[in-house]
């Protein structure tokens, strides 16, 4: 195992895990509902970055599909919650 790529991957995993802990703290103690929704969106993006880093580490292409699915469901969930906070209901007649 040559090079500095494994060290960079370990560093990136630790940093992204710390970022996820920060987002989780904001999710738990956010004063308004918008803060919580924003923290949940951040948690989605951070987990996507972590999955992509794991895909680089293991050299597998399956992690790309997982990251794409996380992006899709994260957008749907965050947009639905933001729409609910804005209008009071998600799908309007």
């Amino acid at each position: 195992m040559n090079g500095m790529l494994p060290w960079a991957i370990s560093f990136a995993l630790i940093a992204v895990a710390l970022a996820m802990i920060f987002a989780a703290i904001r999710l738990l103690r956010g004063p308004a509902a918008e803060d919580r929704v924003l923290a949940l969106d951040t948690l989605y993006v951070n987990s996507m970055i972590m999955v992509l880093t794991l895909g680089i580490q293991f050299g597998s292409r399956f992690y790309f599909d997982i990251a794409l699915l996380i992006a899709l469901f994260g957008f749907v969930g965050s947009a639905a919650m933001a729409k609910f906070l804005l209008r009071g209901e998600v799908i309007e007649p």
């Binding site: 918008e34 680089i56 293991f58 050299g59 790309f64």
Partner: protein, 119 residues
């Protein structure tokens, strides 16, 4: 898994992209934790996370292309998807924050006047 076929420049560039991307993500999430109100938090987290995700996606494209021996461009899909969907969530959250702040300030009678065609 053929990790030792990576040339030196790809190793250096991939490590640099990974470290800068994870550091940007960490700084953005630290801004989410430390900044005082919703709008500054949204500013910090949007900048940090989008740039960090872009750097990690570039590193993933680079390493996967080196592994596969050809140009792998599937991560461009995630980039396009995030570029097109991240502003939608941000705009909805921002309008929701402004609206609820106005309602809290002006009582329950304050209605939306400036959005005749809300979406």
């Amino acid at each position: 898994m053929t990790m030792n076929e990576i040339p030196f420049w790809a190793d250096l560039l991939g490590s640099l992209l990974l470290i800068s991307g994870s550091l940007l993500t960490l700084i953005g999430s630290l801004g989410l934790l430390r900044l005082p109100n919703l709008f500054t938090r949204m500013h910090g987290i949007t900048l940090g996370n989008t740039l960090g995700l872009g750097c990690v996606l570039l590193a993933s494209i680079l390493i996967a292309s080196i592994h596969a021996g050809r140009f792998v461009f599937q991560e461009v899909l995630i980039t396009l998807f995030m570029i097109s969907t991240s502003p939608v969530t941000t705009i909805l959250l921002m309008r929701s924050g402004i609206y609820r702040k106005r309602v809290e300030a002006g009582g329950k009678t304050a209605e939306r006047q400036d959005s005749p065609n809300p979406g």
